[in-house]
Amino acid sequence: MDEEKDIAIEVVDVKKNFHVGENEIPVLSGVSLKVKRGDFALLVGSSGCGKSTLLHTIYGLEEPSEGKVYIDGKDIWSYSKDWRADFRNQSIGFIPQQSFWIKSLTVIENIAIPAIIGGKGFHESIPRAAQLIELVGMGKWADYRPYDLSGGQQQRIAVARSLMLDPKFIIADEPTGNLDFKAGQEVLDLLTEICGKFKITVLMVTHNVEQYKYGSRIIRMRDGKIVSDEENMNSRERLIQEYPDVKDDPSLMEHRAA
């Protein structure tokens, strides 16, 4: 029973097929997984293996052809579209690969946008957004337009936006995919720090092996299936054995040592 309560996200035998013309292409072929509360789970695999599709299915944007998705024990695809929209808004923080913004709003107003969507006014949402912009170290950029910022800065703002409604979960779709190594590392350091501090469950897609060090669990996918799902061993030898190209990355080793 306790173990069940400890499960934050559960995916049961999810299949997803896309129709291209008259052809039906299977993208997810019976995926099942469980993510525990407080996990920083990484969904990894090569491009096209179905990890983003699985993430969108869990986030309530892509309806599975078969199977169930439970978040906090709720079968989210048994509810209406509007309910799922509210569930996303109120319970899940979302960080997409490319930060999308409301161009006409300032940085701080964009951080507040989940609360605005949830029915709050700008005036009452801005103070919370102001706290979050300080948290991600971007306070002096509050009145800029988001697209005036660099990619790394925009992703920091995206992290702040994802925290606006104090979510239980964060779903991140390759949040550093468009950033250079240093900027990506800064964003992920920030994310792991905040989520660790506030016990937020994270499910993040990445295909960058250098980022495996951030995950408490690593779920590997290949051809629409989960091929492994295990706790991160933090083992240098194992990482080097599987991914020889990372052996010269000192930051990886420092992180593991810590």
């Binding site: 509210d86 569930f87 109120q90 997409p96 999308f100 006409s104 709003l105 989940p114 969507i117 006014g121």
Partner: protein, 423 residues
């Protein structure tokens, strides 16, 4: 930093079905307004397009209505719409406007009063001066329904009255440069009486050597005319049948029914409403032409607006995607786009209406200044009826909804993921 997270008091339960959250209207309006402001030039051009369209329509229609009202005002100035003219000239019916008929007409429901008149020719003599002219015999009711523009004195055309009102022209021809000095003088006159004015007469007759005191002078510099009491002509010359009458209805609404009743008695009737109807018919055609012209202009404005909103949607596809991904509902997105259209049409509509009306009023003022320099009276030929204003605002609302509907529906139906992937 004072940063706090409600660690354990989180939104532990997602919203139940049936309690769906909605964006506040103020937030939707603010985002729509900000979006217009961020594309200022495009927004101003679009709002300007609507304003020009509405402005031209307002300008044309206010002049159309104004001219119509001015013409009607001039026509009805001395012919109130509740007065019916009775003419005893129907060749198919040998009826006379005698005392019996006057009584029957007076008894018709809705009739307030009836006045009678005859008109005939005569000759006027004053010392060595003499001139031909017209003699009208009218009673008090008739004189009240068709008042003379008196410049001196006054005459009661009631039953006991024995004085005449003469025109300034007649006074002048009789040798009185100052017409008012004729008042109290006695003038001689001959009168030619038509047979139809006397029930016992068999033809026209001339009665000469009559005298009457002048009680008043009215303004008419063109014709030699004397108005005498109808009752006096009855007593002196046996006049007992009027040639014309005027009926005043209690209300304008009674006019059509009274006319039918009078015509059923064999008379011909006229009412200024007939002329007003013709004028309105003419201006109706003019207004139709103006509306067609205005509709063409507005169609161009509407296409510009639709184009702006469509481009705005395409440019904001990813915004729609992220809003939906973060929890915005179809209704929220729909409102966002429809309100943007509403903002454009309201700003354009109000500024166009005020601008069009302002220009029309300015034209009127300039016209009056030029007219006054040439000694003419000022006229007001700019009018916008209340219902037209309502129609304009109704049209503006329709324009906003009609042009905003398609982009708003398309935006609201867009799938979040498709929008985010949109290039």
């Amino acid at each position: 930093m004072g940063m706090t997270f409600r660690k354990r008091k989180r939104n532990t339960d997602a919203p139940k079905e049936g309690k769906i959250l909605k964006m506040r209207l103020s937030s939707v309006l603010l985002i729509g307004y900000r979006n217009l402001m961020i594309n200022k030039f495009r927004s101003i051009m679009t709002i300007g397009g609507v304003a020009v369209g509405i402005g031209i329509i307002t300008f044309l229609i206010s002049i159309g209505f104004g001219f119509q009202e001015m013409v009607v005002r001039e026509v009805t100035k001395d012919n109130p719409p509740d007065i019916i003219e009775i003419i005893n000239s129907n060749l198919d019916n040998f009826v006379s406007l005698d005392g019996t008929m006057v009584g029957r007409i007076h008894d018709i429901s809705g009739v307030d009063r009836i006045g009678r008149s005859i008109n005939t020719g005569g000759k006027f003599v004053m010392g060595d001066s003499q001139t031909d002219g017209a003699i009208y015999g009218i009673d008090r009711d008739y004189s009240e329904m068709s008042p003379l523009k008196m410049i001196a004195g006054s005459v009661d055309f009631g039953d006991g009255s024995e004085k005449a009102v003469v025109s300034t022209r007649l006074a002048e021809l009789l040798g009185y440069a100052d017409p008012s000095s004729l008042i109290g003088q006695s003038i001689g006159y001959d009168i030619i009486l038509s047979g139809e004015t006397n029930s016992e007469s068999r033809g026209d007759m001339v009665r000469s050597g009559n005298r009457i005191d002048v009680g008043g002078v009215y303004d008419n510099r063109d014709k030699s005319v004397a108005y005498m009491p109808y009752s006096l002509l009855g007593r002196e010359f046996g006049v007992d049948q009027a040639q014309q009458g005027k009926v005043k209805a209690k209300t304008q609404a009674d006019v059509p029914n009274i006319r039918i009743e009078i015509e059923n008695l064999g008379f011909v009737t006229e009412n200024v409403g007939d002329i007003v109807g013709d004028i309105n018919g003419f201006f109706f055609i003019i207004k139709i032409v103006l509306v067609i012209f205005g509709t063409i202009i507005m169609s161009i404005s509407a296409m510009g607006m639709l184009n702006t909103l469509s481009v705005s949607l395409l440019q904001r596809t990813k915004e729609v995607g992220i809003l939906k991904a973060l929890g915005a509902k179809r209704g929220d997105i729909f409102k966002m786009f429809i309100f943007e259209a509403a903002i454009i049409s309201v700003f354009g509509g109000v500024s166009g209406f005020l601008g069009g009306y302002g220009v029309a009023k300015t034209v009127n003022v300039v016209f009056n200044v030029l007219a006054s320099q040439k000694g003419n009276e000022s006229i007001d030929f700019i009018t916008i009826p209340g219902y037209f204003m309502l129609a304009i605002f109704g049209f503006v609302a329709f324009l906003g909804i009609a042009t905003g509907l398609m982009p708003a529906r398309r935006a609201s139906k867009t799938h979040a993921l498709e929008a985010l992937r949109y290039e």
